[in-house]
Amino acid sequence: MKRTTGAVAIVSAATLLLSACGGDSGEETADAGSTAEETSAEDDAAAEDEEAAEDEEAAGDEAASTEAPVRDENAELVIWADDVRAPILTEWAEQFGEEYGITTQVQVATDVRQQFKDAANVDQGPDIVVGAHDWLGEFVQNGIVEPVQMSSDTQALFTEDSLAATQFDGQIYGVPYATESLGLIRNTALAPDAPASMEELASFGNGLVDSGDADQAFVTPVSNVGDAYHAYPYLSAYGGGIFGKNDDGGWDPDNVIVGSEESIQGGEKIAWMAEEGLLNVNVDFPTMESLFAEGRTPYMVAGPWAIPNVEGAEIEYAIDPIPDFEDGGETVPFLGVQMFYVASGAQNPTLAQEFVNTYVTTEDMQLALFEAGQRPPALQSALDTVSAEDEDIEAWSAAGEGASPMPNIPAMNAVWQPLGQATSDIVGGADPAERLEAAQEEIVSNIGR
């Protein structure tokens, strides 16, 4: 009897231990859905978090299968989307089906990008795919998406940046519906006013740490392997970045500027932020989320996908653009654009083209997709409607102003790891110039491989 009690004690201790770990790993499980939403932050670290969250979600929820969807042979229009957009799309697809007298099917894919690539290779893919714009280069390279010939009138309805993001090699390959970028999320209880500059943010945040009101002055994912997506705003603050542009305005994979003077100046700011205690290699995505949700830090730089977790923790927050540096460095985040692709192997190409050209371009549908995803719409009129009503969206839209569309060329795949590691090493104390030049070499050799 006594031993049994001991065993029960061990069980509860083990449960405590596990839940304690859960607390430290951030509320991954709780906000699995929201993290899974993040589809355009394609840096390794964020993608990893996303996968992790998805895996946990799958583990906790029997219904969530990680298997690739299998298209229904009888449906005359098949759309693949993630679990957030799929329900809202189903309504619109059904309406489309009724209007045209056809059957439609919207399927949830857990990893839209990879599952579409795999399925399209064996001609089992959908007709339409909903996803982020930075997948485009890969899709074109594999010949699995086809151009969308939007008329110039229709093109004019979209915000300039979102339309630019749908282009590859000068051709438009999809219809955009939402944009997303990083912004500064502020705990208004700890920091009532938006900081005017990064320097002000640092001194105010560190003041809170010194007075014991916060444990960390500022959080954004860094981690031991780095996070190039979240480091980019500072890296590019003085005109640096990843790729230069070629003649027709596209990204040039043969012109890597990671080791350029401008990028190194940005790298020095990263080093300065680390000195000030703003950047920390021990903060990764889940740690960042839990620190902010527990009210242990006043500032967090993250995307709209981090909001549900903040709301879940009942933290009062405000969204602002990422502050600039006082010496004139302007932080530039990446702009991610969500869009509808038409598969080149589509079994129903005419209907697919009709759907993206006539339905996705309407204000009503863009507004409905906004309801599902809470990202600024890509259609100008829908954006105006939403911004007038929703402060957050207006703020996100402002945060995304002047953002640089994430390169959609396949060469970007060769960048995430070396650049991420370089920024992590700089945060850890490495010399910015040396480290970025080394990363430049690595990236160039990876691209050439």
């Binding site: 061990i10 770990c21 992790a52 390279q141 008329s151 031991n224 083209q353 060769a414 491989r449």
Partner: protein, 544 residues
Amino acid sequence: MSETRSSEVDQALDRLEPTGEHLEFSSHTPWWVQVVKWGLILLVVAVLGWMAQQVIEAGHWLMVSLIGFIALCIIAVYATKRAIPAKYLFPGVLLMLLLQIWPLLYTVQISFTNFGDGHISSKEEAVNSIVANSVREVEGSSRYGLNIAVPEGSNVATGDLAYLLTDAEGTYYVGTLEGLEELPADGVEAGPTGRIISAPGWTTLTPQEVNERSDDLADFGVPVFNDAGEQTAGIRQVGLSEAFIGTPTRVYDEEADTITDTVTGTVYVAEDANFVPEDGEGAALPQGWREFVGLQNYTDAFTNATLREGLTKVFVWNVFFAAFTVVATFLLGMAIALLMNDERLKGKGIYRSILILPYALPIYVTALVWASMFNQDFGLINNLLGLDINWLGSAWWARVAVLITNLWLGFPYWFIVCTGALQAIPSDVKEAAAIDGAGAFMTVRRVIMPLLLVAVGPLMIASFAFNFNNFGLIWLLTEGGPFVGGQSSIGSTDLLITLAYRLALGGAAPNFGFASAISVIIFFLVAVISYFGFTRTAALEDVN
């Protein structure tokens, strides 16, 4: 007791032998067994026939002949009375060929190609994709309202297709493969946007009917001619209700095997499975094709600077990681199994359930939980023990962290296996050891361990092979990191498999050919190690 029984059996067998009764038993099979047998054979052949039908449609002729061969084998083995051993062995051999040997051969085959992102399709498909994706709207042209129709009286499923078009001024046209022709406005019914709804002499197609003719429409376009009568562009549909005047800006010349960009004038030539600019200036066209590259991937693997530098370091760590994991998890699992095997212990069921817990939880959850526990500033381990160890940031500590995590993940397996194997060790040998004056440690060391090792030796080799390629753990815990020395190619906890993964799939384009080549090399490494392992376990069996 047992001796009497065996002699009884012998006598019974002797009685049977001369009469040959046991032979007659097999020749007089009941009729229903025959029916079931033939029913099953027919069923299997029918299923194979259906599969063959499917692959014939897909045009995989090698698969068709393979399926035919399997069907013949089934008939030859099961429909005749010959080849009794084969009747037992055939299913196993077939499954081994399908599930083990075929993937292996497939991997080897891919390792001789450039298969990967950007080199997925055939050259023909790549050219088609390049040309199709280069279609641009002719500048300054305006759009047409569109309906799709066939001549009245012809079948909607087979009739000659035509576009019924309305231009910006509201003039109606009929577009066919011959060209554009004006359509008299008499009797034409148009919608609010000016799009033709019906026209005399034409049957318009419903969206469903249009969709069913997608293949025909893919090749359909209305040629547009200039004044000299040369075709300059084509009218193509955008969905169901709009058409535009477009022209491909990249043209393929089959004879010269070149692609010319009509806007920039650049000529692209086929080279290394891509179209590259003739003058070497600028980027290649994105769509490449799949081709045989011989030993290229293997020479790349052996001459790759990263691999050459990192290989020894990674290999040593890889072998140590796998060996240490096997030994440590085995010893811990066995020790706990021995404890749990003691009959004086109560509540074993509960203890055992708890101990198996790490094995029952998915590694995707536990590895990530461990990763967060090892966090230097915010992790449970440092906080609880009051340490400030940079677990995942320093090379040596990261290796320790990996080993600790894998020990935790791996010992329940050995606990289960040893618990089972210990039950099979007769208690009399333990009693004998005790009588001979062996202490508890001596009994374990000299009696139980040797008997246990005979049973679990092969499992240890399997566990070694598994951990040698334990991708999941490393990737979830450290991603191969930390990366020291200002680079991101060779991590301190990288195994060969994670290194290969990053190398082959982490570049600009995932290269399955290169990845396969590295897999084949790793396969040979593991095979060699396992061979020596098995030779050693054979020696262990001598204790019997």
